[in-house]
């Protein structure tokens, strides 16, 4: 029975042992081999002290070993914590420490960074290397296990896994307003709610060839990996080095006869604008799913003309709810400029909007904040009771029942067909290129520079990437800071997608009548 997400693999390995599970460049692995090697890894982890509920890091560029790592951790009863392989080391160190992980799976090349992350005391006990090289350049004072030792293990039998569906499956770290990333805790049950729904709703079949474009620390990857495994489909990992070249992506879709594509809209726009997608044909594509940001309508309309036979769905949901609403895009009215709706709730989920008086919005066009309840909702933020309590609130509409509501912070309206439409954010969290960014995290990074007196980050809407980030800084002494110095400082603290598009220095920041920084005036200044 499938009640944990790794069971999707075990079930399909029995049904389709010789079918390819994952393809990456010229490398392939069948369902049977994937099942065997992930069990070997799980046994190795257990032999090295991993226990139910332990957090284990995956710090590897996207590859077959990266997916093996995730599945091996789950089979051992562990919780996987995917790390952005290209993030600044200080941010990664922060996540490693916050999660309390003792064990990390990494490649030899990336493993050398671990020593740099923790120059004094290293919190890790065991590092498993997912390639054949035996040692790290910098000797880490931990036990290092090379890949060869794992894959050359004889036949193993997986001991009975005592974990249950309410145990955590993974923790995904997202931008946090105080400068420390927040770890969103997702249980097997929560994740399976989405996996089962998406597999049924989109009728994912064994013959499907599903692309995997999103990085593994991004929740879009749950569909790519686990919904595909559930269906017995084949996953085609988009090599990271191709993922930004539009022509390569177009060729990737064509050569691999991809039938299902799932990504943020901006990468599809990138293919249309910089890859002349319209001059190519994609006869195999049957389903295009997009999520993470608003798809500019004129490009969505263009895409629907380029790939006319495909079905299109807009999926919506913060990491805390995986996906909670969806909308099938049948046709777009020629005069529509507004983005397509985020639609209605998925199975096993209820969503509703509350107005400022906490009444459920039923009136068409009236704004309210979107709330979600049901098994799609995450368990909360790892080791952060305060933040958990402020976003995962007790359902005050049904007092007497012990259940949680997730407050999304997204402002929505209802349309005449009962679909929700996204209007904007209630707080300072924004989306850029599909990534969610707390402007507060950028501000915290700016303030951490000793010469910064005041700083603010604002978002300016942008056609291609949803929002551009602009920062304004007041230095302690006039002319004591340069743009370059600030950029260098930021690049050590925040990932590349959070870097501001523009840095401007001011003598003071404009304030509103109640003394707050006037963000609207600053945003207007950049137009």
């Amino acid at each position: 029975m499938v009640y944990q997400i790794q069971h999707t693999l075990m079930k399909s390995a029995k049904r389709f042992p010789d079918k390819n599970a994952i393809v990456y460049h010229d490398e392939k692995i069948t369902y049977k081999d994937l099942d065997v090697v992930t069990s070997k890894l799980a046994v190795t982890l257990l032999e090295n002290g991993v226990r139910r509920g332990d957090r284990i890091g995956v710090y590897i560029n996207k590859s077959i070993p990266a997916v093996i790592s995730i599945l091996g951790i789950l089979k051992a009863g562990g919780v996987y914590v995917p790390l952005d392989a290209n993030a600044p080391l200080t941010r990664l160190a922060c996540i490693i420490e916050n999660s309390g992980m003792k064990c990390l799976l990494t490649s030899t090349r990336k493993g050398d960074n671990v020593q740099q992350m923790f120059p004094e005391k290293n919190p890790l006990d065991v590092v498993l290397l997912t390639d054949d090289l035996k040692r790290l350049k910098e000797g880490l004072p931990v036990k290092v296990i090379p890949w060869k030792e794992i894959i050359e293990k004889g036949e193993v039998s997986l001991p009975k896994n005592l974990s249950i569906d309410t145990d955590l499956a993974y923790i995904l770290y997202t931008s946090g307003s105080t400068g420390v990333p927040k770890g969103v805790m997702i249980s097997h049950r929560t994740s399976l709610t989405f996996i089962n729904w998406s597999c049924d709703e989109f009728d994912i079949r064994p013959e499907d060839r599903v692309s995997s474009h999103a990085p593994l620390h991004f929740d879009l990857s749950i569909f790519d990996i686990f919904t595909s495994l559930q269906a017995g489909a084949t996953i085609f990992l988009v090599p990271e080095e191709f993922s930004i070249f539009p022509r390569r992506l177009i060729k990737f879709i064509q050569d691999n006869k991809i039938t299902v594509w799932y990504s943020v809209p901006s990468i599809l726009v990138h293919m249309m604008v910089h890859g002349s997608m319209k001059n190519h044909s994609f006869p195999d594509l049957r389903l295009i799913l997009f999520a993470g940001e608003v798809f500019p309508v004129k490009y969505l309309r263009e895409l629907m003309g380029i790939v006319p036979q495909a079905d299109y769905y807009n999926l919506y949901g913060p990491t805390e709810t995986n996906v909670c609403t969806y909308y099938k895009v049948d046709q777009i009215e020629p005069d529509r400029i507004k983005p397509v709706p985020i639609g209605k709730a998925c199975s096993n989920i209820e969503v509703f909007a509350l107005d400022e008086n906490n009444n459920i919005v039923t009136e068409i066009g009236k704004e309210g904040e979107l709330y979600a309840r049901g098994s799609c909702v995450a368990q909360g933020y790892w080791r952060d009771v305060k933040k958990t309590e402020s976003y995962f609130i007790k359902n005050f509409l049904n007092s007497g029942f012990d259940e949680k509501l997730y407050r999304t912070g997204d402002i929505v309206t209802l349309d005449e067909k009962g679909n929700y439409n996204l209007i904007g954010r209630k707080d300072h969290m924004i989306k850029s290129r599909g990534y969610r960014i707390e402007l507060g995290e950028i501000e915290a990074a700016l303030y951490s520079h000793q010469d910064v007196k005041e700083a603010v980050a604002v978002a300016v809407p942008d056609e291609f990437i949803t929002n551009k980030i602009i920062t304004f800084i007041v230095p302690k002494k006039p002319d004591s800071l340069t743009k370059n110095e600030m950029e260098k400082h930021l690049s050590k603290l925040i990932p590349i997608y959070m870097m501001p598009e523009m840095i401007e220095f001011l003598e003071s920041l404009p304030k509103t009548s109640n003394g707050k920084i006037d963000r609207e005036m600053l945003a207007a200044k950049t137009k």
Partner: protein, 84 residues
């Protein structure tokens, strides 16, 4: 400044946000190393097009030409030569 130094300076200061040119090796993996993402790629292309008066086609927007500083230099020099 020659093509190589110009391109390198642009990548180091505008994309990597560093001051010291030595942080970037001419053979360092720009794409696989996560130095250049899709936004930066377009920024870099616009810079080269404007600086050298060349037009980079969709076909040329490819990993082979953008893999390293050396590969990019070779590609841009070829473009300049065929444009001139």
């Amino acid at each position: 400044m020659d093509v190589q130094s110009t391109i390198k300076q642009y990548i180091v200061t505008e994309i990597m946000h560093e001051l010291d040119q030595n942080v970037l090796d001419n053979e360092a993996a720009l794409i696989e190393g996560g130095i250049i993402d899709s936004m930066n790629l377009i920024k870099l292309v616009l810079f080269i097009e404007e600086k050298y008066g060349v037009a980079i086609t969709d076909e040329e927007l490819d990993i082979d030409n953008f893999m390293t500083v050396n590969a990019l230099t070779k590609f841009v020099n070829k473009k300049i030569k065929s444009a001139g």
